[in-house]
């Protein structure tokens, strides 16, 4: 029986796909058989972030409409045997997904996998609701910025009402906060919401904090999820996040201002 995790946010551009790819990769690297599904029908991008865009033959919509089998559509990750990608369709419109179709696909995958990571599209429409409907757990990706925090709260409202767990009065979907693009320098100068404030406003448990990092763009440029870049702050922060998902205790990192050393202050080393 797989655990279904939706990566969602409401607002676009906050790092959902980056996070879904990084977390799925991290789960696989820890030995869990994992599949990551792109629910953004019409605007697929997970394949690019995972670096498998040229190997896409069939997609989620083909599977749901019976034009291809699951095994034909799933792409095995080049770097990890435990990891599979199920891409979204690039051409069809969002109505191509049906609740019953998604349920069947997830049930089938549940037999073989430990974790199913659903990469939600932006917005609160049908596509986003389908991505979250069957979830056991939700990772709400939030930037330290007013519109992102507000939209995250809207998503929390949907998770509490428009999911199978809510509709069937089961245990609620576990909600976790993932703060991305956090810049301790700007927090320190008072121009960015700090993590305590965001947690206080949204009132859900923090699962991870990803600092604003050059490594993220580098990773997407090369199509290698940032979790593989263990020299980078973001890569390590995603590994910590995955460890917490798996129940490990990990202290928070990268949220405090790095005091500049005397020498780097004189010579102006590093970026600002």
């Amino acid at each position: 029986m797989a655990r279904i995790i939706v990566v969602t946010s409401g607002k676009g551009g906050v790092g959902k796909t980056t996070s879904a790819a990084a977390i799925a990769t991290g789960l696989a690297l820890r030995g869990n058989k994992t599949v990551v599904i792109d629910f953004d029908v019409g605007l697929r991008n997970l394949d690019l972030i995972m670096g498998c865009e040229r190997r896409v033959v069939y997609d989620l919509v083909n599977v749901i409409q019976g034009e291809a089998g699951l095994n034909q559509a799933m792409i095995r990750d080049k770097r990890s045997d435990n990891l599979y990608i199920l891409p979204a369709s690039q051409t069809r419109d969002k109505d191509a997904l049906t609740l019953e179709g998604v349920e069947q696909v997830l049930e089938k995958l549940s037999e073989d996998f430990d974790y199913i990571v659903c990469d939600s599209p932006a917005g609160i429409e049908r596509g986003a609701q389908l991505a979250m409907y069957f979830a056991d757990e939700a990772i709400v990706v939030t930037n330290p910025e007013v519109s992102s925090v507000r939209d995250s709260d809207r998503i929390l409202g949907l998770l509490a009402s428009k999911t199978r767990r809510a509709e069937q009065a089961q245990d609620p979907v576990i909600e976790r906060l993932l703060i991305t693009r956090y810049d301790p320098n700007r927090v320190d100068s008072g121009d960015m919401l700090n993590l305590e404030d965001i947690q206080e406003i949204l009132a859900i448990k923090l699962i991870g904090l990803i600092p604003e990092s050059e490594a993220v763009l580098r990773a997407s440029n090369s199509g290698v999820p940032v979790t593989h870049d263990q020299d980078s702050d973001a890569g390590q922060a995603y590994s910590d996040t995955v460890a917490r998902l798996l129940g490990d205790e990990k202290p928070l990192r990268f949220h405090q201002l790095q005091k500049k050393s005397f020498l780097s202050r004189i010579f102006g080393g590093g970026r600002r």
């Binding site: 007013v146 409202g157 008072g190 960015m192 700090n194 406003i201």
Partner: protein
């Protein structure tokens, strides 16, 4: 004196402004959670009816639905203008 006061006054940091604004808007959003879908429409129509008789502002009406156990209470709060 004025200059000294001006220099002493700390500029309000934008992050704390953001936090205050968010707390208000999120509280409002949560108030609407779990409400039936017809509530906004009901609110609009009630306001229309009231405005046929009394001249009230667009935001002078406050409507909420509270459920406790097996009974629900629809609360309607209308601020009427001062009588001249």
């Amino acid at each position: 004196m004025k200059l000294l006061e001006f220099l002493k006054r700390e500029r309000k940091k934008s992050a704390s402004v953001a936090k205050e604004r968010l707390q208000i808007i999120v509280a409002h959003q949560r108030g609407q959670r779990g409400q039936p879908d017809y509530m906004p429409m009901l609110e609009r129509e009630l306001l229309e009816v009231i405005r046929r008789y009394v001249e009230v502002e667009q935001d002078a009406i406050n409507i909420s639905l509270d459920s406790e156990d097996d009974c629900s209470v629809l609360e309607l709060n209308v601020t009427l203008p001062n009588r001249d």
